[in-house]
Each structure stands twice: as C-alpha cells, then as structure tokens.
C-alpha cells in the first residue's frame, strides 16, 4: 500500500514538473521583462495638469497642506520650510523624489536600460528612475529615487496567440527624505511608494498613462497619501527641456 502511495505521489510530481518545464520554455530561462511586457510604456510623455494645478504648476505658500494627511510631527517640520536653506544645503531636489516626481509637471522619457530594467528620465529636475524586474542590484545609499522593484500585472485572456495586456506595479523604498509638495510637506526615509501604471487609448486616439501613487510614511503621515497623475504620449521628444531642481 505504501508503494502505491509513493507511486501516485511520484506521478503527480512528475506531471507537475513537466508542466513547469513546459511553461518555462522546456528548460529555457523565463522571458525577460521587456519581452513579457504587459504594456508598452516606452516613449515620450508630457504631464497634463488638470488636478491640483495650484499645488503643482505653482508653488503654494508655506502652511498650505490641504489634502495632505500630515501628522503633527510632519506639520511641524513643514512649518519650518525654508527654500533658501535647502538651496544652501544642496537639497533643492527634495520635491523631486520618487514620492512626488510624477506630480511635478514636465516631460518623461521612458526606455529600457536593459532587458529587465525600465528607465524613466524626467526633464524637470533631470531625474532618472530605474525599475528592476529581476536580478535587482542591492540597494545602495538612500537616494531621491530610491530602489524600485517592478512586476507586470497581467489581465485576463493572455492565452495562446493573444496580446498581453495589463499594468505595471512598482514598489520603491530606500528613499532619501523629501517633500510631497514643494512647500515643504515632508516624507521620511522610511517611506514606501507603491505605484500602478495604466495605459489607455482615449476616443481621440491619445495614448494616456495614469500613474496611481500610494505613499506610506509612518513617521509623518497619519494614513496613506493617494493620488493619480496623468500623462499624454507624444510623437517625439519636442519640448524636452531639462531643467535643474528648484527649491522654489
């Protein structure tokens, strides 16, 4: 009887192993992120600032924290905002970190750095973000753009012969402390930024990218901070205008 059980178990494992091997291309390595992409984000993009215009296109005065879930500690820090001090300290990129960079009006250039690393360059603040799908290097020193791990979220119907569709999820940590809004609303080094990238085709033919951003910072926020930022695809790089970070 024991032999029977073992035989059945071996059969199950053998069949399952065979299936996995088949899925991996009969022993081949899994496809690189570029080949397995659920959507194509590469190209040139421009922010279309419809929401929160008065907090994004212009810098609000100190003390305007409306809609930000700052706790008393965060609010106290924000009340001491001094752009001159940031400039003197070489910290003028504080509002260009990963927790806010997609809210900064500007153009994006998205490309594959290699088969498993997606790169986003911004002209505003001349920042670069790297999204690692696999074999990510270990996080180094905290930085404005931190360390980002990415994965595709596939939609239904990804059967044989069907185009892959879905979304991109990115989780970023290892951040240098920065600002959620240019007027000094802080986020800490312990912040986690979770982003979802969607691509839709509008009725007029525009390719539209919406980035849903969830910022979690137990140090300065009472709850998560959730926003969406919208971008329109451009046919070329016209209008690309690299500008350094500005603290004001």
């Amino acid at each position: 009887m024991r032999t029977l059980v073992i035989t059945a178990a071996v059969s199950v494992l053998a069949a399952t192993a065979g299936l996995h091997a088949q899925q991996a291309g009969r022993g081949a390595p899994p496809p690189a992120a570029r080949e397995a992409a659920a959507l194509d984000l590469t190209g040139n993009w421009v922010s279309v600032v419809i929401e929160d215009w008065k907090w994004r296109m212009v810098t609000p005065k100190k003390g305007v924290y409306e809609a930000l879930p700052l706790n008393p500690v965060g609010r106290k820090i924000a009340d001491t905002w001094d752009p001159a001090r940031d400039e003197a300290a070489g910290e003028q990129c504080r509002s260009y970190g990963a927790a806010n960079i997609m809210r900064v009006p500007g153009r994006l250039r998205i490309s594959w750095q290699d088969a498993n690393t997606l790169k986003i360059d911004t002209d505003a603040g001349t920042q670069s973000r790297l999204f690692h799908f696999a074999a990510a290097p270990p996080p180094g020193q905290p930085s404005w753009q931190g360390h980002s791990l990415a994965r595709w979220e596939y939609g239904p119907g990804r059967g044989r012969g069907q185009a892959r569709t879905g979304n991109l999820k990115v989780v970023t940590t290892n951040l240098r402390p920065g600002y959620l809004r240019k007027n000094g609303a802080p986020y800490s080094a312990g912040t986690t930024v979770t982003e979802y990238y969607d691509l839709n085709t509008l009725p007029n033919g525009d390719q539209w990218m919406t980035v849903t951003t969830k910022v979690e910072d137990p140090q300065y926020l009472v709850r998560h901070y959730l926003t969406t930022s919208d971008f329109k695809k451009l046919p070329d790089a016209s209008g690309w205008n690299p500008t350094p970070c500005s603290a004001r």
């Binding site: 922010s47 600032v49 215009w53 212009v58 969607d198 959730l226 969406t228």
Partner: protein, 668 residues
C-alpha cells in the same frame, strides 16, 4: 499470487488517481497564468484620494486645470450656485463628470449570465445618484432623439484589466462642484482598473462646445466591505430659492460678478458670519491662470508666468476632440426623409418625420396626432401611423392558451381560438389632428392625414351619431387665420387641410376621454406666433410642446405673426408648471419638442433658463443704449450659440437676437 491479484487492480486505481491529481494540479498552475474571467470589481468602495477636487469643493471661479474655451468660461462665470435652488434642479444628482468625486463611496453590483457567469450588467450606485447600469452585452446606444439623463446610457467592455465604459445621452451639468459647466453635447469615457484593493478611475469628458480639448481626470477608491453607500433622499423645496417666484432663473450678467470669481485668490474663503479669512487666500495662484484654458494644462505654461514667453506665442501639444457637436445636434432631428418611431409613455409615441416631431396617441378610440409633419412626408407618416395603429391596438400574437387553461373559458373551447383562426382587426382611424401652430412643418401633412381619418358627429336632438369622413383638425383660431390667408399672397391650402375645430380661450379639452385619458390643448399667447398651443395627454403624462421647445435650435420667433421671447418663456413656464419629474429631477412627465430629442422637466428648464439669460442680457444692452447691430456685435448668446445657434439657414443666430431685441422693444 494472492498479493499480485490484489495489487493489479489497486495499481490501476493508483495510476488513475495520480493522473487525476496531476491533471488537477496542471489546471491550477495554468489558471494562475491564463486567467480568463475579468477582474472582480463588485463590492463596496470608499472614495480614497488626496486631490483637491475630491477633498473639498473648489471655490467659485476656480477653473485651474480646465481646458475651457471662451463659451465654457462665460457659461460658468454667469452661473451662480443658487441655480441648484430652482425647482427643476433641486434634486439633481451629481453631474456625471463629478460623480466619482462625490462623497459617500460607491457600490458596484454585477448581474451575471447564469450559464457563463460573465458580467451582463454592472450597476454603479452612489449616495446622491440614481442606479447607473453599464451594459456589457453588446447592445447599441439609443438613437440621438432618445432622452438624455443625468447618468446617461453606458456600455462597457473589458480591455485587459481595465473596464472601459462609454456613455452618451447625458444632460448638461458641471465638471466640478463650484461652477465649471458642461453642455449636454459631451461624451464620457471611463477606464476602471483595479490594483490590489485600489480602484483607479480615469474619466474623459469630451465637450467640444465648452472645451478646447477633452478634460481628463482620474481618482481612486479603496475596497472597503464595511463601507455603506447611504441613500440621500431629496428634500428640496421651493423655499431654497427665495420662494417668491417659482420661475426665477438665477444668473449673473457677463462681467457682473468678476470680483466674486476671484475672491478665493484675493480675499480668502468665507468664514463665520460672512467675513473672509485673508490667510486662506490662495494668492500664489496667478489670476490669469485661474481662468483655465488649454495652454494652462501643459508644463511649458509656467514659462508664461515668469514672462519668458507670452501665452499667445506659446505652443502646446494640444489634443483634439473626438466629438462633433454639430453632428450630435443634427442627429437629434434627423432630416433623412424617413419616419422614426420612439415609444414615449402610456398611449403616446413620438414620430420623427424628416426632423419634425409628431406626437401620436394610439388606442381603442383611434389615433390622435399632434401635428402632421411636412407635406412631402405625408405618405410615409400615414404608412407609419397605420402600421403602428395595427400593431399597438390589434397586435398579431401567438395564442397563449388552450381549452381550460384559458382565463374566462366557457363551453367546450375558448374564444382564444379566434386569435388563431381570424385575421387581425383593421387599424383604428385617425380621429383628431391637432396643430400647435400654422408652421408648414407642423401642418403640412394635414390634408392627407386628416382625409385618411374619420370622426363621429352627433345628429343632435336624439338623432343617431354618424361617422363622418376625415379626422377633426383642431387648432387655435389664429392658426386657422394664418393658414387660410397665407402671407405674401400665397395660395391658401385646400379646405381639407384647414382646422375644422378652433378654440380661442386659454385651453380646450377634447369633449371626452380619448384612449382612456383627458387630452387638453393649451394656448400659449404671443409665443413663437399668436396661435401656439401645447397639448397635454394627462394620463400618459406626456406634453407635446410644438414650436415652444426645440433641442436643436433657438425658438423660431415670428414677430410679424405676433411672437415674442417673453411669450415663449411664459409658455415654457406653463409647461413646467404642469410637468413633474419622476425622481431626482428627471423622467416623469415627458415633453415632446417640436424638433429634437424627447425631453423631461430638466431639459425644458435648461431651455427656459437659456432664453431668460439671453433675454436679460439683451435687455441690459438695450438699457445701455446699444442699437440692434451693436447688440448683435456684443454676442449676448455667445455661450449658447454652439448649442442652438446657426450661422446660416432659415433661422440664424442673428435673426434670433433680432427677434429678442424687437420683442423687448415692444414689451409684450
């Protein structure tokens, strides 16, 4: 041997078990990668977003981020928030573009195909809303002459993880609470994508009459099974609007409220007692940017704020609209030489005859037509009316019972057998034709259609009732005068085309119920002419408005024949006094316009509001001493011209403004 004998069948069983297990595991593994069912979005969702439009109401005059054109800006500038107090708007739900940003969360329910379990209809419900179905079964959108509603008509399709929803048939409304307006000629597209427990909603509002490119905004909800979408009932009352004039239309004259529109920048928000809080003034926002506009949406606009480039010189990567408002408006009144039929309510149907609406009541008593359409459409109208009368009043249907299964069975068989062995009854005749005016597109078919009908006449003094050839043609007496003595020396129509019954009082009731309901013809004095009527089918709860109301043009006011803008407004107010919305300021009493889509109270109110606003603007310009040409040049109807105006054709915007001007000079 004994053990082998046992082992053999056991081994066989083991192999089968193993194979089944392996297959099951395979299915599970594959299912992780090749998901076939759409993302589950059903459930309770809590609005969870940290953007300004969601977290608070934008102040009056804040158009930042809106690609407004001049018309949209003017319309919004002159619309006070007190418009919500008007009777017909008090119970409006949030406008569709704003709905996802209204407080209270969202319930998403799903109806499934019981066999395949594919979503058949999604239902979206909000605190201040009506149930909003999104049809997933591939059905087409209704024709353009079907009614518009606050939530419109929506169909959906899954594209990967995203539910794409296309919505048409929307009423006019607002982009955000606080003033930015839309027309009723916009299309809305939404993209709903679930990410873990977050639902991202991207909404595209394409309103080419008020916007220079589509307005696209996005927001987020979080899944929250404990969230409950409370139903907010409407307790609106006339008192909210001051209570002194139920027809009052609040609005600002252009330029009148400039200070109010910028107070949020210069003075701060209101605090207790009507004082202002200067600390809350959003004075870092440039006044010019607060006015919105296409160029303000793009990053390069910031260069205009430091003076390195002018707004006029600035180039931005603008998008185009996918909507042709001109085509959408024309489609509400298709001039295609055909008769289109739209069931309305109760006995009443709307027939669109080459762009002109005919209202028809069908029933056992016969047919009553309100207007007969253009003369050239008479044959097609008659064919359509006859076929409808046959199918509505005497439908051909399969026998639904037999023998003792039939209700009312008597004897050995039942009368229901007759539905099988007899032919259908003939179509009941046209009994009445009612003309709401003498306009040729309303009375042009009188001769043919009235002649094809019949009516009854009492002999009086005990004589038998007799059937007479020809339907009775009913109109205000001034219509008879206009038709029998046409202007310009034109030949009078044949007698068969002329009214046979006229009235000269405030209203006229048909002498008895017709098809089970009262039919009342009301006079609207000095409206588009001196002979206008509108007709109320009281049990069906449908009003045929004739020329008083159109969803495709300004009213064709004929000053020479006794018309006036004041009379049209009075007529529309009278219709609004009769009509009652079913719920949330929509539906209920249906109003058939002379031209355009089937409408309800809110649509008539919107049209009335437009006329009041233009009348008051023209009056203001007259009081300033402007001549007619100067009034025209001032474009007092600029924000409505895209919707109702025309640069050419038989009734231009200039002719309409002249009619308003002359009406006011004559002070009717």
């Amino acid at each position: 041997m004994e053990s082998d004998a046992v082992f053999g069948p056991m081994m066989a069983r083991a192999v089968v078990v193993a194979a089944v297990l392996a297959a099951a595991v395979n299915v599970l593994v594959l299912a992780q990668d090749v998901r076939t069912e759409p993302t589950n979005i059903a459930g309770e969702w809590r609005l969870d977003n940290n953007e300004r439009d969601t977290s608070s109401q934008a102040p009056l005059g804040d158009y930042t981020g809106i690609p407004f054109n001049d018309a949209g800006r003017l319309r919004s500038d002159t619309t006070p928030e007190s418009i919500w107090g008007t009777l017909e708007y008090q119970c409006r739900p949030h406008s569709a573009p704003h709905q996802w940003r209204g407080l209270g969360g969202a319930s998403i329910l799903v109806e499934q195909n019981p066999l395949t379990r594919e979503p058949r209809v999604y239902h979206f419900q909000f605190m201040r809303s009506l149930d909003r179905p999104v049809f997933m079964d591939g059905r087409p959108h209704p024709p353009a002459y079907a009614p518009h509603s606050w939530t419109g008509f929506s169909t959906g399709e899954w594209i990967g993880n995203t539910l794409k929803i296309t919505t048409t048939h929307l009423k006019d409304g607002f982009l955000r609470r606080g003033g930015p307006q839309t027309t009723d000629m916009y299309a809305m597209t939404e993209f709903l994508t679930r990410h873990d427990d977050i639902l991202t909603i991207v909404t595209v509002i394409d309103d080419p009459l008020f916007q220079d490119q589509p307005y696209v905004h996005s927001t987020t909800y979080s899944y929250d099974p404990n969230n409950r979408v409370n139903m907010e009932t409407c307790n609106g009352s006339f008192a909210e609007n001051g209570g002194t004039d139920r027809h009052y239309v609040p609005h600002f004259l252009p330029g009148e409220n400039t200070d109010i529109l910028t107070e949020w920048i210069t003075k701060g928000g209101l605090i207790t007692g009507g004082a202002r809080n200067p600390a809350a003034a959003e004075d870092w926002v440039p006044l010019i940017a607060a006015r919105g506009g296409l160029k303000t949406l793009y990053p390069e606009y910031r260069a205009t704020l430091n003076g390195s480039i002018t707004v006029d010189a600035l180039k931005v990567p603008a998008s185009r609209s996918a909507v042709s408002a001109e085509k959408m408006i024309a489609a509400q009144s298709p001039r295609d030489g055909q008769v289109h039929v739209l069931p309305v309510q109760g006995n009443v149907y709307m027939l669109v005859a080459d762009g002109t609406n005919i209202t028809a009541s069908f029933g056992a008593d016969g047919v009553t037509l309100v207007n007969t359409g253009p003369a050239g459409m008479s044959d097609k109208v008659l064919t359509a009316v006859s076929e409808l009368a046959r199918t509505i009043v005497s439908p051909t249907a399969a026998n639904r019972c037999s023998g003792s299964n039939c209700p009312g069975m008597w004897g050995w068989s039942s009368p229901y057998i007759n539905t099988v062995i007899t032919s259908p009854a003939p179509a009941p005749p046209i009994r009445y034709v009612i003309n709401t005016s003498a306009a040729p597109d309303y009375s042009g078919g009188n001769e043919k259609l009235a002649t094809a009908g019949s009516n009854t006449r009492s002999g009086g003094f005990g004589a038998a009732v007799e059937t007479v050839e020809g339907a009775a043609v009913l109109a205000h007496e001034n219509v008879l005068g206009r038709l029998s003595t046409p202007a310009g020396g034109a030949a009078a129509p044949p007698a068969a085309a002329l009214p046979t019954v006229t009235y000269f009082d405030d209203f006229y009731k048909l002498p008895a119920f017709f098809n089970g309901e009262p039919v009342i013809v009301y006079h609207a004095p000095d409206a588009t002419t001196d002979g206008d009527s509108y007709v109320y089918f009281r049990r069906s709860d449908v009003i045929s408005a004739g020329d008083l109301f159109s969803t495709v043009s300004y009213p064709l006011i004929d000053i020479a024949r006794g018309g006036s803008v004041q009379g049209v407004i009075r007529g529309l107010n009278a219709i609004l006094d009769l009509a009652v919305a079913e719920y949330r300021s929509q539906g209920g009493t249906w109003i058939v316009p002379g031209h355009g889509r089937l409408s309800d109270t809110a649509d008539v109110a919107s049209y009335r509001n437009m006329l009041v606003i233009i009348r008051d603007r023209v009056q203001n310009l007259i009081e300033k001493g402007l001549t007619l040409e100067q009034v025209k040049a001032a474009r007092p109807s600029m924000d409505f011209d895209g919707r109702y105006g025309s640069a050419d054709g038989p009734w231009t915007t200039g002719m309409f403004i002249e009619a308003v001007y002359r009406s006011l000079q004559e002070k009717k």
